[in-house]
Symmetry: C2
Subunit: 271 residues, 2 copies
Amino acid sequence: MQPIAFIVSDGTGITAETFAHSILSQFDLKFRLIRVPFVDSADKAYTTLNDINHAAELGGSRPIVFTTLVNSESNEIVKRSNALVLDMFQTFIEPLEQELRVKSSHAMGRGHQAADTEAYKNRIEAINFSLTHDDGQSHLNLKEADVILVGVSRSGKTPTTLYLAMQYGLKAANYPLIPEDFERGKLPTPLLTHKSKIFGLSIDPHRLAEIRNERRPGSKYASLENCRYEVNEAQALMRRENIKWLSSTHKSIEEIAATILQEIRLDKPSY
Amino acid sequence: MQPIAFIVSDGTGITAETFAHSILSQFDLKFRLIRVPFVDSADKAYTTLNDINHAAELGGSRPIVFTTLVNSESNEIVKRSNALVLDMFQTFIEPLEQELRVKSSHAMGRGHQAADTEAYKNRIEAINFSLTHDDGQSHLNLKEADVILVGVSRSGKTPTTLYLAMQYGLKAANYPLIPEDFERGKLPTPLLTHKSKIFGLSIDPHRLAEIRNERRPGSKYASLENCRYEVNEAQALMRRENIKWLSSTHKSIEEIAATILQEIRLDKPSY
């Protein structure tokens, strides 16, 4: 019987789900994950308690329950369930209260996911900026950009800029490096005055050919020979221009983003 | 003196940072957050230990350290630091091992952020799908869409579809509802065969006018009167067509996404 894991949150439960998933993926078992978001009242806590107990009766083993309930009353209700309850909130709040010698506010929805905050508005603005500055579409307001990614077509620039905007509220533009740039041996002209903000993505030519062939099968654009040429030229150009770059071949957008933040020290200093 | 919080991870540390942030935001203190990603060797663990101890000497109080180190050796090294160490990994792995009566793999980078997995490829494909199906740009392959958002211009469709794609690997298209649709009294024709996948976003006309005025100040498009007309018509159309919808006015994209998943039961059943 497949073990069941509940994620019970008074907010969206998205962070808790991602976190629970990374913990559960340490076990060679396939879990059924049930996210229960917006449990923001005692009533909903009781419903959740019943759902968990019902699953416990049906299943062969006790469910696993991750909770991130800020409200103590709801938390106590859910904890009564016939399950292994892992309290991701209280477990850390208590030692923090002792260490900091202050009480926590126990207020719901104070994370960066709350709308109506300045940080949230910045994130939405950054997403819009990244969309309008995707693939070199616009040269306007490049001075507002926090980072400008460059690289050959299909090296992973677009998803990375969107991720940087969505997760960090960074205004991330991206510019393709194309054969015309290689012939001139120079970066695209609009970028020349923003060199300190540029970061490069490269990619293994075989992987690039694979990706491009999905889009335009059999084209010159997708051929291994052309991919090799473009990648070599792009790397030579970035070396010449002293631009930091990484290979996106085996990296996820999260890993690319985290590396870029480390390299260009864009980490926001405080919350 | 501002308290310092380190987030030490052998991966990107992004989930841990989001989680730590939501816990720390329960305190009325401004923390300096330092993410230390990619601590994947004993050497890097020692460097991190030194950095933490250095901060402890400089600061007035012990730093707070959140760790998500899968590697036990690195974890033990960082735990020796002069800090309150909150172990977000081991704290939950141990009770889980006992409950499930299996040992965890202690393998790094097995979360959904790892590239080279099927789930990751689906996410990238979903991001590309959502970009090419933004704002009704393409009617092609709508049958592949997991969800199609509709709503008046600037009601929050684009960031939400991108978020659904990025976080959940869902192919999310979006379609604007425009005055032509209201005059015809019908949904855009390409959508008529996909009604079960449609979800609507509405928005308070005052907020809409505000947002539109930032884009096109003083235009008819942005006027309160026109925003009221469009929102009323869109809501009437959605009611008539039996389309579920929510108001995005005070909701973040995370909250909108979590609600949509609940409503249309798109939650992936298992990992």
